[in-house]
Amino acid sequence: MSLSPALGRPSSVTSRRSSAIYQLPPLAPPSPPLPAPPPTPAQFLFFPLPTPKAITPKAQANAQHAQLYLFGWNGTHASLVAGLLLAIDENDAQQRLDSTFNHLNHHLIILGTASTSSNPPLDAPSTSSPSFHIHLSSTLSPTLTPTTPPTTLILYTPPKRSQLQFLSLVPLQLDLNSFDAPPTPGSSTAAKKAEAEARKKRDKEGRTEEHVLGEKLRRSAKLDFTSPSNAMPVAVADLEEVVDWINLAPHLTSLLSPPSPSLRSSISFPSTLASILSPPTRLVRAVAQGILTLTAWELPLLGGTALKDLSATVQQIDTRLTQGLSWPSQYSLIRTTLSASSQTSDMPTLALGRAHYIQFYNTMWLIANDMIVGSAFTSFVCENSEYLGGLLGRLVQEYTLTSLRELLLWLNDWPGGVKLNFELASIFCDGFLWGTGLWEELIFAPLLPFLPTMVYLLGLSGLLGTTMFFSFASDLLALLTFHIFVFYLMATSIFRWHLSMLGALFNIFRGKKFNVLRNRVEPAVYEVDQLLLGTILFTLAAFLFPTVLVYYLAFAASRLGIVALHAAMETALAFMNHFPLFAVMLRFKDPARLPGGLQFELDTSPEEEPLLRMTVRPRSLALALLSLSRFSSLTCLPSKRRTTPSTSRASSSSTYNSQDDWLPITARSTFWEGC
């Protein structure tokens, strides 16, 4: 976007990257077309608006003759002023820059001069090639003396490194799983290759729908020309460079100035890494890893279901242990990334460091919350364990046993006016009633007096956290309604068998058969006796179908109710485990720590020329909550997660374990999956 017409500067500015640059219509009345000037690269000058203090030399002998010099970087399209330097003349300033940054790979040069009300400009012209002059004043915004290739002044707010602020062109990815290929626009070929490789790897591993969705969103966001992030006045490659410089600038200016004691990281890291790896800790780590392998061990009997898929408690233990195991490495990573002496300033590394920081403290906060609320639950439940135990016993008896019997007897006798086959219905009814009686006699009756004790134990588990409480409750519910689960399995398998038989017999009725090789239905020749048998069986199956259907529906509905309870508990668990508290808090407290891109605002005030201001656009809140939904079971019906062995448990997987294959969308199976 060529903004010079808007700023009243006569120019026609074009750029080579025309795709990202728009031409504003000229505001002046149409004049006769001027001859097109030769294309000159537009110059943008970035200037920090809370201007950092001018760096004064130790020797203050010639303070009165000193002049303010701008120093910074010079790029193809844009230059950045990192700070102000007080020096006698330009050579002195350049020497000071070189002496400090000689051993580093940063090419800081003198960009021009500055003047304030107290430091009027001297007459010595600057010999540096891009020579700018900026006049600062305390009341108005800085003004730039116009230069011959017309330059636009853009103001930016320098990020406070000590408070972990930084600028980024892309929204900060808080999800640590997707950090292998950060989508940087206009990245170099090496980065693009790395990104392509990472994407291929993800493809091979089987993309989840979440990834696909995220990529689609990213692609469409790139093509959306109406979004503010896609309309940048500067060519994109340059802006990346400029942002890198901006992130680096505070650190370098601190190197230039005499060392001050205040430049210390505000975060104190009390322990060192060595203490973490002491032998008792190593033993604990080994035990934890042993338990983790045990929970992930796939039971051979149940067709490969891992232990943690069966029980919520085991899943929760698994989550906590994984989180705990990752803390030491995460902690050391944070320390190295955020230490004040860090030299890295490129966006991916910075972003990674910040994301880890946020994730780490988020986990800490959540666990603390967990423990506090859990102890409240514990005290309540343990005090009232007798009453709650009795209540639970009565509830279970009423809903799982008595209601089940009533349901079965109702189904036996023309339920709702639907005429069922009496013989078959009575077979079902008697069978399930016998099963219920067996369950009640063998398991429930001995358990009933122990229910208060079990409730007490449940309450005790709350000491380990609310999540453990809910996991125990979920497991307890599963155990108490186990007989309904078994009945549901039987009804489902009978129904499935009946349906397939009906389909096959209908094919015989029509004189066709299913060709498995070609996967289609085609005409077939049958003998008369085959036809006879097939037809008679078809009539039989068709008339018995309503009975089987009714029993299946009854058990499926009750199973649905139980699964809804499980889902509610798992939602609570997901909230407890993965709510992005830290990110939400940061969003409100200090948005600059969660950068979500850059935006340019036009500052117009009546007495000044309009100026561009570049600010950080904070990351949207919706993105934070989107990451939560990935871990919750809100996107899937967990009804089949316990029965189909192929899906692993989606909820409560650790945020840090990237080899967890959670399949929240594919686990969204309905009851018909059982057929």
Partner: protein
Amino acid sequence: MPLFQSPSREPYRKVLYLRQEAYPDNYVDSSFLSDLQRNVNVHPASLPVLLAQTLPITQHLASTFIFISIFIRLSRGALDPPRLLAFSAVVAIICRVWSNWISAPTTNGGAGGGSTGSSVVAPLIPLFTLYLLSPALKTLTKATTSDSIWALSGTLFCINLFLGDYRSIPSSYPRPLPSPAHTTISPNSSSPSLSTEPSTATPLPPAPPPPRSKSTSTLPLTAALSASTVLASRLSSNLSVFSLLLFSTLWFGPFPLLRSDLPIKPTILLTVLLVAGALWSLVGIGGGAVKIALAMLLGISVAAPMGRGWLMIRYKDRVRGPWDQAVPRVGGGGT
């Protein structure tokens, strides 16, 4: 039209490339519409042919009536199941003998005759299965009211009647040449269908005709079997259920196949027998069944062919001009 005709005027020629000044543009000649042909390709079928071709339909309808009357008597208790079983055994033996007689001469259709022969014998396995299933079948529709059962079985019998295979080859009658485009897949009834054996224009000797290819649609047979199953579930004893089902298997399976292969004289004889049997068996039922059955049978066998022939003669009016008509080719790819 000119008010007078000059004698020197040339005769009007109905061509477009001549400019005929003497006549106006909208001149209508007296030879207008004289080239039209009426009913050129329509050959009214002769009544005997039609009557012969409706014989299978009449037979089938009559046999359906017989079956229904047997069921009614069974359900009323007027017929003993053992007697029905004996009758079924007789029918089975007759079918067996008949099929053996058909497949005995080794003509070019011997293999086909053998297969039709083997298909008419009811092997033992379905027999035992039927016997075992009869208790289950007896209580199958206990919950359904009788009205829905009658409606259901009536629908299924209608499917059986409408989709039945009514092709017949009365071999003492000169057969028309088979058309090359006809296939055997569609079991259409009441249309003068043609056979599909290799085209032999000479009339066959009155030996048993080579059996034609089997119809691939089993829906009429299965519909009839379903209807009989549904009806059988209304009966009160296991033995009656079993006997009815066995009888229906023989009556709707091999019997129609066998009787469709007869020459003309036995066909007429069989038709008369069946119609008589139907009417006689319906006498005891009451409720105007005989009258209804008689009306239907007469309508199918006599009135329908006559109507068709008469309607064709009187109302068929296909007018066509002297040009070549374009014959649409359906479903052919390419030029």
